[in-house]
Structure formats: structure tokens, C-alpha cells
Amino acid sequence: MVEQPSRRRPIIDLLEVSKSYQNGSLHVDALRGVSAQIGQGEYVAIMGPSGSGKSTLMHILGCLDVPTSGTYRLAGIDVSGMSESELAEVRNRRIGFVFQQFNLLPSMSACRNVELPLLYGGVGKRIRRERAIKALEEVGLGDRIEHRPSQLSGGQQQRVAIARALVGEPSLVLADEPTGNLDSKSAEEVLSLMERLHGSGRTIVLITHDQEVASRASRMLRIRDGQLLHETVSAGTGAV
């Protein structure tokens, strides 16, 4: 069954992380002292209703934002006080994003979309293309390499996005409502792909408000009013 996270080398180590911001005259405490650890190779769902702070948590986990207080170590590196440029490099090397809206660039082929993280990572043109094709084959789109996003179905587009998240061999795949814009069949495809990736040893954090989607992960963190609730170990497919 599932090992205890503390025994593994943690990829994500949050210690008393808080985030507050000013929204007009309104002071918002989006996160209040969140502490959590996610180990190498885990498949964790972070679940909560809208306004619970899960988006803020996802932004901090993804190094898109920095906490107001507390520390966040990603793969052992403290990223809490990093500059915008340093964070960009961390995102590039450590994190693969999957978004609800896919966020593919419409003017580029699937292959070139997948190449983007490697482009910013300074990888040469030929190797970029080779690795992008390999990543597309991994998500079952080896025959859609030169298709534009507009020529692909929603499910296929999300799989291109997943290939893009994988191509840089990141420490962490961060998926924000990856099935939110998909019909149930495509959603199932994406979720089983996630499970397959987990099976091959990837660390995946999935943010969702959907109990059914969250239950597919091997561990579930519930968030409400900016605080993590007790953890539940899912009875779903958690086997490594």
C-alpha cells in the first residue's frame, strides 16, 4: 500500500506558509499557516471549494507567487525569497504545469508548443524536437505532431499540454483542474494518463473541487478557509 510521505524525500515541503493580499480596501488572508509535505513519486489531490485558497496554494506550489510568510522548499531548495528571474528558472526546471484552459499557443503546432519549456531552458533545436516528439508519443499523440491546437479535440489539446508539462523532466507535475473543461470521456482519458504517469514514477499534484476526480489520487489534502484539514488516504488506485 501507500508509504508514509515523511519516509520519502519530500519534493514539496511547506512550513507555516501564509499568503495575504490587499483586494481594494479588503484584506484577504488566502492561506493561514499551511504546512504539508509531498514526497517523491506521490500522486496528491488538493481539494476544496472555490474561495478556499486552493488556487493561491497552487500558485505558491507552482512558484508563480511567493508566500507572505513561512517557507516553501521545492526539491530541497528554499524558493520563498527568490526574485522573478530565479523563480522563472525554477519553474522551467522543476515544474510542469497543466491548466484547466490547456493554454496552448494557437499559432504553433503541437510539437512546438511542447518544445516551449525546453526553448526557455536553452535546449538546442534538434534535441528540443526529438524530446517533444517523444513526449507527444508518451501521451499517445505521436500522429498529431504537426497539428495546430485548433485541429485537435479538447482531450487531445489537454494531452498536448500534459506532454508539454512532461518534456522538461520536472520534479513536479502541477495540474490545476485538468478535467474542468472536458467532457467525461476526455476527462477519463486525461485521468488515466495521470495514473499512468504516476505509475511510471512521476510526482503529481492535482488541484480540483471535484470529489470524484480527487478520489483518483493516492492522497487527498482538503483545504478550507486557507487551512488544510485532516488528511485522508484514498482507497483508489494508489499502488506504485
Binding site: H59, G62, L64, D65, E84, S85, A88, E89, R91, N92, R93, F97, F99, N103, L105, S107, M108, L116, P117, L119, Y120, G121, G122, R164
Partner: protein, 409 residues
């Protein structure tokens, strides 16, 4: 990410918004075309004026009678013939005027020329053999008259090319006879065409020895009186010295003590040239200024469109940032976009400006000059302006927080 990749990304952004990019370029394009055309017009006009004045002869000084007072009344320019052959002879002296290379007294009048059944009215000029050199003229056929013919009042004449053509058509005029006011003259030469289309046609004239003209054609009570004296300075640097020498000599010959009371006027070709040049330069600067403003407006257009582009592409910027593009790369991408728009606008503007110059040259009486320097400078300036106005939008794109950028719908 190296510069080539950044440039490629910028170019792709331009390519994926063709209409908008074209419209942005249009502002720069019109500005550059306007600059090239106005500068070309100015330069063309200057070349034209210079060649028109040069065709009169280089380093030329012209003494005209005039401004003489008679009984306390100031009389108009050229109203009396105060200059004589004696004046011309005195100015020829190397002792009196060492900086004057050649002197040619001239008188001219419009006369009817007849040859067989053809007749033609042209200006008949009486002068000395020095005239040819001073006026920088050459002969197409035959020869010019010489000092011996001048001294012997020989009945010889040299015709301008237009005059010769009008009187003799295709036949060779040299050796034929032309009647001027009933006096038969032998044509000994034909002047080469100047190719100039100045207001007084330099190719329609008949030149003969001064003595012949004064005695046989013009007549009058004072046959030593001349209408003007042409002088050539030794070089353009001694022009001013030549002017001083001629002025002093003529004042003393005419017994005039105050230079303000001089009964003659000396004008230099340089003074005409510099006036004409400064006028056309002023016009060029004025028109160029207007064109520069239109270029500036084009630059503001680039900024405007780039700002719209940043706003419109907030999600793309956010995504690129999330995938690891540092602010500097985003900034570079937008700067490349702006500078490429400027460069393309500059190049297309130069082409249209050059095409416009060709078109305009057939409408104005001179060639519109498109100098490579003007083109190179304009293209450079277009790129600089576009890049300059792209700095602010690029900085805004670079500053966008990735979460705000990704959140926008």
C-alpha cells in the same frame, strides 16, 4: 534562450497578426517615405540651382552699370551705360587686378538673323575671345573668333546650337553666311549645347567680336560703351580678392570717392549660389521637419499597437512566464517585434519613397535625388523610433505577474 530564438518568437508574433502588423508598419512607412521624398526634393532642387548657376561659368564676377546718380536723382540699375572698354582694359591688367584671370566686356541686343529663306530673332552678343573660357563654353563645330578678328572688326559670328539649328536645319552652318540687320557675317563656329533649361536659353545666341557688334550692328554714339563686364577670378578662394580689386579700380577710374555712390554693381555667382542654396536648404529643413513629425506619429502608432498587443496577449505572456521565460526574455521578444516593425516599415517606406521620387521627377522640372545615405539613415531612424516606442510596452509585458496574466480570460 538565445537571441535568434527570441527574434524568431517576435517574428512569429508579427506573422500571426498580419493585418495589425501591416497597419502599424503603415505609420512608419508613410513617415519614412515622406522624409525620403522631401529630402530628395530639396537635394534635387539644390543640384538644379547649382547646375543652372554653374552653367553661367565658374568663379564669375559680373560688373553691371547702375545705381548712378544724375543731378542728385538715383537712377535705376542698368539705366545708363557707365562702363566702357577702358574699364575692361584696366581690369585686365595683371598689376591692377592680379586675382582676375580673364575679362570679357559684353554688350547684347536682340536682332533678326536671316539665312536664305529662314529668319530667327536671337540675342546678339559682342564680346572678346575671353568670353568662351569665362562662360565655360565649348565648341561643337568650327572655332571661336580670335584677337586678330577682334582688332580688325571681322564680320564673323559663332552661333548657339539652337540658333544654328533654327537657321540652317541639318546643314553644317560653318562657312555659311548669315545676315544680321543686313550685314553679312560668316559663321565660323557653333557652340556646344549646355543642356541647361535656365530661363534665358544659353543655346540661343550669336556671339561676335565686340568691335564688329559695336560698329556694324549696334551703332550708337558711344561705341566704347559696354553693357557689362564678365570677370573670372583665378579660383574660388580669390573671388573675394578679385571683387575688392575690381571695385577699387572702377571707383578710382570713375572718380568716385564714396563706395556708396558707385555707378556700377559687381555681383558674384557665389553670392547668387549661396542665396539660392540657403533658400532650398531652408525649404528642405522645413519639409523634412513636417516629415519627421509624421515619422514620430508613426512611432507613437507602434507604441499604441504594442500596448494593445500586450493587453491582448496577457495569457500568452503569462503562459510563457509560467513555462520559465524570465522577464528579460519577454522584454526582448516585444522589443524585437517593435524593431522589426520599424525596420520593415523603414525598408518599405524607402522603396515607396524611391518610387515616389521617380514618379515626382516626371512632374517637377528636376530630378528628385534619393541618396543612399538618406535611405540608410531613415531606415536606421525608423528602427530606432519603433524600438524606442516599444520600450514601454515591452517593460509592461515583462512586469506582468504570471498569475494575473494566466487568470485573465
Amino acid at each position: 534562450m538565445n537571441f535568434l530564438e527570441t527574434a524568431r518568437t517576435g517574428l512569429e508574433a508579427i506573422g500571426s497578426h498580419r493585418m495589425r502588423s501591416a497597419l502599424t508598419m503603415l505609420g512608419i512607412l508613410i513617415g519614412i517615405a515622406a522624409v525620403i521624398l522631401t529630402v530628395g526634393l530639396g537635394e534635387g532642387a539644390q543640384v538644379k540651382v547649382r547646375s543652372a548657376i554653374d552653367s553661367l561659368g565658374r568663379n564669375l564676377l559680373v560688373v553691371s552699370p547702375g545705381s548712378s546718380s544724375s543731378g542728385g536723382i538715383q537712377q535705376g540699375l542698368g539705366s545708363s551705360s557707365s562702363l566702357t572698354l577702358g574699364d575692361a582694359a584696366a581690369l585686365s591688367s595683371k598689376v591692377v587686378a592680379p586675382d582676375i584671370a580673364a575679362v570679357a566686356p559684353t554688350s547684347q541686343r536682340s536682332e533678326l538673323l536671316t539665312a536664305g529663306s529662314s529668319n530667327w530673332t536671337t540675342s546678339v552678343i559682342g564680346t572678346t575671345p575671353q568670353w568662351l573660357g569665362i562662360r565655360s563654353r565649348t565648341l561643337a563645330a568650327g572655332r571661336f573668333f580670335n584677337t586678330a578678328e577682334l582688332n580688325s572688326h571681322a564680320n564673323v559670328v559663332v552661333l548657339g546650337s539652337v540658333t544654328a539649328q533654327s537657321l540652317f536645319g541639318p546643314r553644317d552652318p560653318v562657312g555659311r553666311t548669315v545676315n544680321i540687320t543686313g550685314v553679312p557675317m560668316t559663321v565660323i563656329g557653333v557652340l556646344s549645347s549646355t543642356g541647361s533649361s535656365a530661363t534665358t536659353n544659353q543655346d540661343d545666341l550669336a556671339v561676335m567680336p565686340f568691335s564688329t557688334a559695336a560698329n556694324e550692328i549696334f551703332g550708337g554714339h558711344n561705341r566704347a560703351s559696354v553693357q557689362s563686364i564678365l570677370m573670372e577670378a583665378k579660383s574660388s578662394s580669390t573671388l573675394s580678392a578679385a571683387y575688392q580689386e575690381a571695385n577699387a579700380e572702377l571707383l578710382s577710374l570713375h572718380h568716385i570717392t564714396s563706395p556708396a555712390a558707385a555707378d556700377f554693381t559687381i555681383s558674384s555667382q557665389q553670392s547668387i549660389l549661396s542665396t539660392a542654396t540657403s533658400i532650398s536648404q531652408t525649404l528642405t529643413v522645413l519639409l523634412g521637419g513636417v516629415a519627421a513629425i509624421s515619422l514620430l506619429v508613426g512611432g507613437i502608432g507602434v507604441m499604441n499597437i504594442m500596448l494593445v498587443s500586450v493587453t491582448e496577449r496577457v495569457r500568452e505572456i503569462g503562459l510563457r512566464k509560467a513555462l520559465g521565460a524570465p522577464p528579460s526574455t519577454i522584454r526582448a521578444q516585444f522589443l524585437v517585434e517593435a524593431s522589426v516593425l520599424g525596420l520593415l516599415g523603414g525598408i518599405l517606406g524607402s522603396l515607396i519613397g524611391a518610387a515616389g521620387a521617380v514618379l515626382l521627377s516626371s512632374l517637377v522640372p528636376f530630378t528628385v535625388v534619393v541618396s543612399p545615405t538618406a535611405v540608410a539613415v531613415s531606415v536606421g531612424v525608423a528602427m530606432l523610433i519603433a524600438t524606442g516606442f516599444g520600450v514601454y510596452p515591452a517593460a509592461r509585458a515583462a512586469r506582468l505577474a504570471p498569475i494575473d496574466a494566466l487568470r485573465s480570460e
